[in-house]
């Protein structure tokens, strides 16, 4: 059969030929022990018992426990009482706080938040490459924030901002079209807040095996800034993604499907 004849096969015939190929696959490595070790040593976010071979400990001690972000969500019919933890996503905890807003605070500026830096400086601060979504192109600006909470080592977090365009509408109150924050560390403290006006949508998303959370609508954000916690209002839509030792926070006016595509482009 010539190459030309091979090309003339229809999809089914060509596929059938592929299925019949006697391929030489490399021997499958036995990864069982290494997987068990990876679970034991690595991103131990599940708290489990003590199974014999896949024992998983508590939270790994090497992770820096620095950051707190709490986005409190209004829920219909929530009774008065203590805050209820809804979601723990590395550096981000989500809480439902019954009652009304106590201190609305300013709109979270996202970009223009911290010290303006270059990409090289951002990557030097992180100690690794700062991967950004390819579909948005190179960010227009970078910022660095180095929160300092007493008793913990400072862990920098970096912000990338994209200016608004016709296809990337400005986030209400910020003037920016998209904001990506890469937090390094793990949540340590909780905070309170209530989304004024309600209507906030919260949806757990599986982003190619990574835990993610979609928050659509107003909510509050509490961040350590210059050694103290400050509370901000958030008006854009936010997709939070657990990215190993980091947590990514992508804010824009885009709907969920588009936000997922954006975040996929950095995975």
């Amino acid at each position: 059969m010539t190459a030309d004849e091979l090309r003339r096969l229809d999809d089914e015939a060509l596929g059938s030929a592929l299925a019949r190929l006697d391929l030489r696959w490399p021997a499958t490595p036995d990864v069982t022990a290494d997987v068990a070790a990876g679970i034991r040593d690595g991103r131990g976010r599940r708290t489990l018992g003590t199974p014999a071979r896949f024992a998983v400990g508590g939270r790994p001690s090497h992770r820096r426990r620095v950051l707190l972000i709490a986005a409190a969500l209004l829920t219909v019919g929530a009774a008065a009482g203590a805050a209820k933890l809804l979601f723990d996503l590395g550096a981000v905890t989500i809480e439902r706080i019954p009652g009304r807003p106590t201190s609305p605070g300013p709109v979270f500026p996202g970009a223009a938040f911290g010290e303006p830096i270059t990409r090289n400086e951002a990557e030097a601060a992180l100690g690794s490459a700062f991967a950004t979504p390819s579909v948005l192109g190179e960010p227009d600006a970078f910022w660095l924030q180095e929160p300092a909470i007493e008793g913990d080592d400072p862990a920098p977090w970096v912000v990338a901002g994209w200016r608004a365009t016709p296809t990337l509408p400005p986030i209400d109150g910020t003037g920016w079209g998209a904001i990506l924050v890469r937090f390094r560390g793990e949540a340590d403290v909780a905070s309170k807040g209530v989304a004024p006006g309600g209507g906030t949508r919260l949806e757990v998303v599986d982003l190619d095996g990574r835990r993610a959370l979609w928050i659509e609508g107003s909510h509050e954000l509490e961040l350590p800034v210059d050694g103290r916690l400050e509370r901000f209002r958030v008006r854009g839509n936010v997709l939070l993604v657990d990215d190993d030792d980091d947590t990514l926070r992508f804010e824009s006016e885009l709907p969920l499907d588009d936000a997922i595509q954006v975040m996929r482009s950095i995975m």
């Binding site: 391929l23 499958t28 490595p29 018992g49 095996g209």
Partner: protein
Amino acid sequence: MTDHRPVVDRISDETLVARAKDGDADAFGELVTRYRELAFRVAWVVAPGADAEDAVQEAFVKAWFALPRFRQGAPFRPWLCRIVSNEARNRSRSARRREALALRDAGATPHEAAPAPDETVLARDDAALLVAAMNRLTPDDRLVVAYRWLFELSEAEMADALGVPPGTVKSRLSRAMARLRHVIADVPSEVTP
């Protein structure tokens, strides 16, 4: 081609996943054993080379930690494929060593059964040509073709594994097959089996 689907007398994936979600590490270990070959081959298709093993290890670790968010009753196999392929894709960007799909040595392992009359079996040179063409596809195209024809995923499973709507699978596969035909013409006439 090995059938990676569980046989009837084994515990179902769904049961194992449910147990693993509850923290049963042995159940997850069984899933690792059950799917490590498929996972490794998926990684190899995306990124042939030494990084495939690392990608598989990391993918299983990530799958374990993602299990609490895994929808009970959803098929495990395509979900795992998606994690593995993403991991392999990430690693392929920095991979130094490149390898490729290859045919087994002639006569090393004969086919277990004669092909059905409507099945296409190629002469060895033609098979080598087809493998060479597969190696010239982009990893994404190669993965789509492999899911369908090498790993025998259903369309629904492919949709899950690729993270696309079910209606997109056919068009994506069709485009990949068209590109395969295109590159067949570009493969040098003498290819090494």
